[in-house]
Amino acid sequence: MADSAIDLRRMSNQIRRDILEMIYLGGGGHPGGSLSSVEILVCLYFSILRLRPDDPGWPERDRLVLSKGHAAPALYAAMARRGYFPVDQLRTFGQPGSALQKHPDMRRLPGVELSAGSLGHGLSVAVGMALADRIDRKDRRVYALISDGESQEGQVWEAAMAASAYGLDRLIAVMDCNRMQVDGFIDDIMPIRPVDAKWRAFGWAVEQVDGHDPYALERAFAAARESDGRPHIILADTVKGKGVSFIENRVEWHSHPLSEEQYHSALAELDANEGAPA
């Protein structure tokens, strides 16, 4: 459960360092979409989710489905820092035989709720999990982290329709709205605006927050837990590549390796922003 002693901002900075190290050592990965998701995952793992890191299959746990599977480094770092596996294991990211595949593999890494990588599946799976909980009268919640670019997939809206039709108010989606996709800015490739109006039209309760303010996210999650018969979505405004100036909002950094020089320069920037290393 929530640990009030955890400084969510400091932890977010630590997770960013972990992500950069993983992608540097792993010879590649997805820095942009991992860095934009950091505060969302930190808030979930260190404040919101009911879980037992030493018992990942605990039947009463809240479920988090990471649908944007390319943010795997952010997921792994949050899980390691939360105690699911030793932090040292992060260094195996992307190595042959590693449980930390470039996209999450639930059969290799306990605690991962769904194998992901092909976009558009996760919200549907979360709907199924929420339906199962309803049949079983469980009081836990299902969370799904999706992205704005991912929502160009029609299946996301099939799931949105179903969640609303079944009144799944224990399903909480978060959309990492970093405004970018692989080939450029969403507005230039295939606009999805107005995002909030779309979700409302599909019958969801919608809240918009600064996706890099973990405490604003915390408040939004608390509000979303108020059951009112509707599924909830938090639209988290983020910056792709957040925290590293040469990665932020740069299309080429969706999927990219880090050179040693870039790695050290990125770390220095994170240190400077925090004031001191954690």
Binding site: R63, V65, D105, M106, R107, E113, L114, S115, A116, G117, S118, G120, H121, S124, V125, A126, V127, G128, M129, A130, L131, A132, D133, I135, D136, G154, Q155, E158, A159, M161, A162, A165, Y166
Partner: protein, 320 residues
């Protein structure tokens, strides 16, 4: 001897299993009459979900239910359960090893009234190429019940092509026990083996009768377990009879004919003549007409057997 028939063996078995397995849930995508789920729904409304015309969502919702401990059965036309939801099946069902049972109805030429768009002829090729997936096609009402019971009581992904509405009883239900990866030898024979499944089984039995009248002893093997495949039965057929005909209601590319050839190519190469849809799209028409048009009648199977025997004879000569 007249053959008995059973109405809706699949839908009846599904509702029956609903009583025995409280974890069983059933999903539809707006094709409830075709998937025969009314009976299940009327008995277990809280465990039935109709997701509307959204097959991709249905498959992933089924995966979510399965990953929460449910046995999730979801169905649609065979074409949609393979072609339309391929990516969802590969990642969210197979890669996640979720306990989802995919049901394909009205496969290939068993769907004459709707024509090419609805005649799924690729389902077995697609599904059998997916790791973790198992693939079964019952040949009669007995197997329909037995295989459904098997997949529901054994965890893991499965695809099951079920008969359309009415199915014959060709296997005695009082003695039959389904085992995956084990074919059923329907008829002994020494000159040639006809390997088949599903709705082609009665045609192969009829073809074997005709061949018998010509003095040809044709073994008939019902290969309802497409994956896992009964490789030893295929090997024995090749070794003991020396010629094979594979008859399937599917495209000849990627189906059972290919699977059989893959097996014996590595162990005991003998002639394999394939009966099936020869890489073309379907058409509207009654079953008899389609069987003629696509070269898949019992008479075509007899011709194929003769060809296979010629090839076998030529091969024997060249060995001498």
């Amino acid at each position: 001897m007249s053959t008995a028939f059973v109405d809706k063996p699949y839908g009846t078995a599904l509702a029956e299993l609903g009583e025995r397995f409280p974890q069983l849930v059933v999903l539809d995508a707006d094709l409830q009459r075709a998937t025969e789920t009314e009976l299940f729904q009327s008995r277990f409304p809280e465990r039935y979900f109709n997701l509307g015309v959204a097959e991709a969502n249905m498959v992933c919702v089924a995966a979510g239910l399965a990953l929460s401990g449910k046995i999730a059965v979801c169905g649609s036309f065979a074409c949609f359960m393979s072609q339309r939801v391929c990516d969802q099946v590969v990642l969210s069902v197979a890669h996640s090893n979720a306990n989802v049972k995919l049901i394909g109805v009205e496969a290939a030429l068993s769907s004459g009234s709707n024509g090419a768009t609805h005649q799924g002829m690729l389902d077995l090729a697609i599904l059998r190429a997916i790791p973790n997936m198992t693939v079964f096609v019952p040949g009669d009402a007995t197997e329909t019940h037995a295989i459904l019971e098997y997949v529901v009581s054994h965890p893991g992904p499965a695809y099951l092509r079920v008969p359309r509405r009415r199915a014959p009883v060709l296997i005695d239900p009082s003695t039959f026990r389904f085992r995956p990866g084990r074919a059923v030898r329907m008829r002994p024979g020494t000159d040639i083996t006809l390997i088949t499944f599903g709705m082609m089984l009665p045609r192969c039995l009829a073809a074997a009768d005709t061949l018998q009248q010509e003095g040809i002893s044709a073994r008939v093997v019902n290969m309802s377990s497409i994956k896992p495949l009964d490789e030893s039965e295929i090997h024995l057929a090749a070794e003991e009879t020396g010629a094979l005909v594979v008859a399937e209601n599917h495209n000849v590319l990627g189906g059972l004919g290919g699977a059989v050839a893959e097996v014996i190519g590595e162990t005991c190469p003998v002639p394999v003549v394939r009966i099936g849809v020869r890489d073309r799209f379907g058409e509207v028409g009654p079953a008899d007409w389609l069987a003629e048009e696509f070269g898949m009648s019992a008479a075509h199977i007899v011709d194929a057997a003769r060809r296979a025997l010629q090839l076998k004879g030529r091969r024997a000569q060249s060995v001498k």
